[in-house]
């Protein structure tokens, strides 16, 4: 990549933070959704284990 691409015709300090923030939002969305699902799975597994120990 040449330097004029990164320079963005003088608008680099507006364009690049926007792109970076967009990427951050996308990554956050995916990461937080995965964490949410993992937590739900853990909680469900714990519930199943408790139910099993009570049944015994």
């Amino acid at each position: 990549m040449n330097s004029s691409f990164w320079y963005m015709g003088g608008y680099a300090r507006y364009v690049w933070p926007c792109v970076a923030f967009a990427c951050a939002v996308l990554v956050w969305n995916f990461w937080s959704a995965q964490r949410y699902l993992a937590a739900a799975k853990r909680r469900a597994a714990r519930g199943l284990a408790m139910a099993a120990s009570e049944a015994r």
Binding site: M8, G9, G10, A33
Partner: protein, 244 residues
């Protein structure tokens, strides 16, 4: 037709479909967003008026569109859940809220970053940005209301009703903000978007739209699985779903 509808209402079916679809959504989203970013940032020519600053629309316009699309999804899912007592609808509504709020925030931040070089200020009370800000408040209200109840089922229904009331109000809010702006803003403000679009500019933008939609689909699938699990902890199918 109706059997398909009933299937969609069944939590284990939804859980399975969401798990199966997620990687596909994510893969195609990566392709579409990747092409859109490269095409928009590298290959599209600079706009004749706005120069390279117009490239912000490649992230701003899709996220603004998504913020409204996701709110509509949330309100429609809530309405379906309230009217036909389909619990999966609440799960979809609950999964949508944080995604939509994050897209709204993205649209606001990129909009004001675009405003600085164009208007000379980060915030000019442009009608679209102001409506977007109010939309963010609506999202926050729905999310807070959902979490405010100790009984999650009650929170679900209350949040769904609020989302519907908000959806009815969104056009009113938008047009009143436009009216207010036309009354108070003497200076002509350049409108965001609508640069003279030509093919090499348009295709990456459309690709970003598709990519954001697909990405939203992927995240929704993940969150939806979580929401369904949280609601169905006692059901028999959960054991198989977890162990698989």
């Amino acid at each position: 037709m109706w059997t398909w509808f009933y299937k969609l209402a069944s939590p284990p079916y939804v859980y399975g479909v969401a798990a199966a679809l997620m990687p596909w959504f994510l893969g195609f989203a990566a392709i579409a967003i990747g092409y859109g970013l490269i095409g928009g940032l590298v290959f599209a020519p600079p706009d004749y008026q706005q120069g390279d600053a117009f490239r912000i629309i490649y992230v701003h316009v899709p996220s603004a569109w998504m913020s409204e699309f996701v709110y509509t999804t949330m309100a429609v899912a809530g309405a379906i859940a309230l009217i036909w007592r389909i619990k999966v609808g609440f799960a979809v509504a609950g999964a949508s809220a944080p995604i939509g709020a994050s897209f709204t925030l993205l649209a606001l931040v990129t909009g004001s970053m675009w405003g600085k070089p164009m208007w000379g200020t980060y915030w000019a009370w442009d009608p679209r940005l102001t409506s977007e800000l109010i939309l963010l408040f609506l999202y926050v209200g729905v999310m807070s209301l959902r979490s405010a109840f100790e009984d999650p089922a009650r929170g679900d229904r209350a949040a769904a009703l609020l989302a519907i009331v908000g959806a009815v109000n969104i056009p009113i809010i938008h047009y009143s903000v436009v009216w207010w702006n036309s009354l108070h803003q003497a200076a002509t403000v350049a409108k965001l978007g609508k640069p003279s679009i030509e093919g090499s500019m348009l295709w990456p933008l459309l690709s970003m739209f598709v990519g954001f939609m697909l990405f939203h689909g992927a995240v929704l699938c993940l969150r939806l699985q979580g929401e369904v699990l949280n609601r169905e902890r006692q059901s028999a199918w959960v054991r198989e779903a977890i162990n698989s």
